[in-house]
Amino acid sequence: MGKRIGMEVAMAVAEAVGLCNIDMAAVYPITPQSHIAEHLSDLVANGEIDAEFVTVESEHSAMSAVIGASGTGARSYTATSSQGLMYMHELLPIASAMRLPITMAIANRAVSGPLNILNDHSDIMPQRDSGWISIFVENGQEAIDMSIIAFKIAEHKEVMLPVNINIDGFQLTHMVEPFEMPSQEEVNQFLPPFVPHATLHPAKPVTMGAFAMSDYFAEIMKAKNEALKNSKKVIVDVWNEWAKMFGRAYKPVETYMADDAEILMLTMGSMGETAQMAIDELRAKGVKAGLVKLRLWRPFPFEEIKDAVKNAKKLIVTDRAISFGGPGGPVFSEIKSALYAEAQRPLIYDYIYGLGGRDVPVGDFIGMFERVLADTANKLVDTYEFWGVRE
């Protein structure tokens, strides 16, 4: 049996990774991820886990080290945030193209400039097209669970893709929360040993990451895209397996009071919990409001999103990043494109909010609902606004 503990989420993530029989980790510390790096290196240094902790000099080296290690068949882990993730950027599509099942935690933080260490999603959004499985978590328990589950998804023989787990910086990483930590026996039972599709070994030479020109490049891109699309089935299966074993169920898209809702809000990450409180208040006032939480960002769950919003009249998408000079937030443009061909779809609105760690209390979510409900002439449909920005 797992045990109930209270701990800071970042440290608990390192504890959870420590249960996963990793062979190596290469983690460069960066706020607000540092406590993952520190605690994991403590676990290795104290001999609590038998793994190599590579003290790299940058995030570029961290990602390079886990790519190399994963190529040898080692279960490999890293974690980063913001500028560190930006520095890893050029290596991310290489890891996925080589089909290396690396697992990475991202303590989401605003990207400079100006320099800001607090939470939003502007670090992960530019990595969207890197070919990684991308999962968002809402609280500490989910951060722990996904940190273990991610290895099983990544290493599944029909997946073999890297996974990033998005954990809101500070809002989640630095919270002390009560949660259930699975036992070593339970994790051993859940997580089978890593069986790589190929390994770098002098006894049987192979080449990984070989050169490819125009005669093969398109075929390779298509194969990678199909692999990522097909991973959704395995992700759902593994989540169901986790639910059976641990009683905590996860889905690509989760809903709250959405079945009869006339107006829906869509959130990603930790904002879901605050938005849920706003829904309760609105329901108490007689507003048929509901919530849609997007947990799986890549592969994008098109069918699940269509199903979740099909009965609503209005849908408020919320974004914690902006595509400058583009269609609004990246989530907004994705949702619009997912629903474009639907005969019956809600009117869609977008609020860009919580940038650079700005607090978004319950009243702000209620304010967004009220503003959209007041838009009876549909003037704001298909537009985006910066919520709470000083004019």
């Binding site: 080589m98 192979v206 990984m208 005669d215 075929e219 390779i220």
Partner: protein
Amino acid sequence: MALKSWRELPTGCVVFEPGSASEYHTGSWRSQRPVWNNSKCIKCGICYVYCPEGCVQQTEDGFFQADMDYCKGCGICAHECWPRAISMVEEG
């Protein structure tokens, strides 16, 4: 060799056959080829040393030639050859 479909590619495009890069004839990229004038060649081997492709070979009589399957026509051998024994000639 018939080109494979996307379905036939090995996971992660791992190459399991060692040394198979030799099957890729990079000489098809060439627009100029090196031509040795053996009357000027002093057999110093600087072309052999500098060839980035490793495709310059010494023949039994001690002179040098490039393997045209792999020579990309970069001209480094001609540039480095101080007796000026190598000239770069346009491919037909």
